[in-house]
Amino acid sequence: MEASEVEFLAEQEPVTIIPNFSLDRIYLIGGDLGPFNPGLPVQVPLWLAINLKQRQKCRLIPPEWMDVEKLEQIREQERNEATFTPMPSPYYMEFTKLLLNYAADNIPKADEIRTLVKDTWDTRIAKLRLSADSFVRQQEAHARLDNLTLMEINTTGPFLTQALDHMYKLRTNLQPGGSAQSQDF
């Protein structure tokens, strides 16, 4: 799955906006939204929030975890633990990227937030790489990866699964016989 598709999934998540227009309730196929009144907060999916922001029709409110102190805590926790700690949102990376790209003026201390999230991401990816390495080396058959978000899985996932497949084929082809095996390398 490509990163853009993961972002597509993340865009379904709800986020709060403050519109500057008024509209009564709209009934989308996926859910109801509104009614929209200027100055009153309303929850909408992220894709709609970004679109309205680009059309200057609303102001975005950052989610509560997007705060410098909280993110510092999370980063410290991640650095101290050997395993993965739970993240405040399963789509924290996509949220950060989209909100800081399109609505940086609505988010206080945007630069620090960007740095903190990137630090946390780097730590987690480093841990992921190490554990993938040991997984392959010890030829494990199963691994448990709670608390990993979809975006992180998708960075190394495809490579990892294909590598494991190749190794499996190499191993099993040492044994003769068997039904029509896959021949593509």
């Binding site: 989308l28 859910g31 309303v42 929850q43 058959a141 448990r144 979809l150 699964t161 029509a180």
Partner: protein, 271 residues
Amino acid sequence: MWVKRQERMLLEHADTARKHTQQPHYYDCYCLNGIQFLKSTPHHQQQYGRLFGCATTPRILPISASYNLGHLQGFAVSFQAWMNEKFSPELLESKSEIVECVIEQLEHMEENLKRTKGGDLKASIHRMEVERIRYVLSSYLRSRIRKIEKYFPHVLEKEKTRTEGEPSILSPEEFAFAKEYMANTEAHLKNVALKHMPPNLQKVDLLKIVPEPNLDAFVFLRVKEKQENILVEPETDEQSEYVIDLDKDSQHLIRYKTIAPLVASGAVKLI
């Protein structure tokens, strides 16, 4: 106070929605710019139950302007079908009723959109959503077609040997497509190479030469319902097989073969 109670009820319903998918739900009727939609039939409602998951949600929410939580969960189910198909190495069961349902909803929406005047904010929001749903749908269908083209003899074989009660893995259109693809490939191979070969080499068994889907591929999954005693086969001869439990909401990396039936039943989802 009443608001909080309603919201709590909603959450409870969303949690137990899977068990109550028999209940009809969703819109009785639908308004867009004052143009009434059709009332959805019980058939639609049942299919929507499977597609959007959530069952009983009250139509009029109290004043809180919040994105309807039930539908949030519901949409996740439709995306789940898409993701399962994307990550599984073999062709999964065809969810053609859901596909039909979605197409019909999209068509209704498009017709209504044609009738509204351009430049309307509501219309543009609806249009964006239609595009998004259309993308998911076409991506789903495309990954299915890709797998059909890759594994066509095995797919057709499986379809031929399936027992009466089992659901089909191909929709009627896909079946026709697979058969035609097979016929075309055979004709092509014959015309290009086979008919020039000596007579005893002119037969070719597609089942043997086309690779099978690799069910031993590793996949990532997320558990929705707790499972116990899943067998994990060893990688090397030194290790022995062992048994694990899958806790709810945990994520794992494991071979596809052992958990294939769980994917089909919806107890786990691939990520």
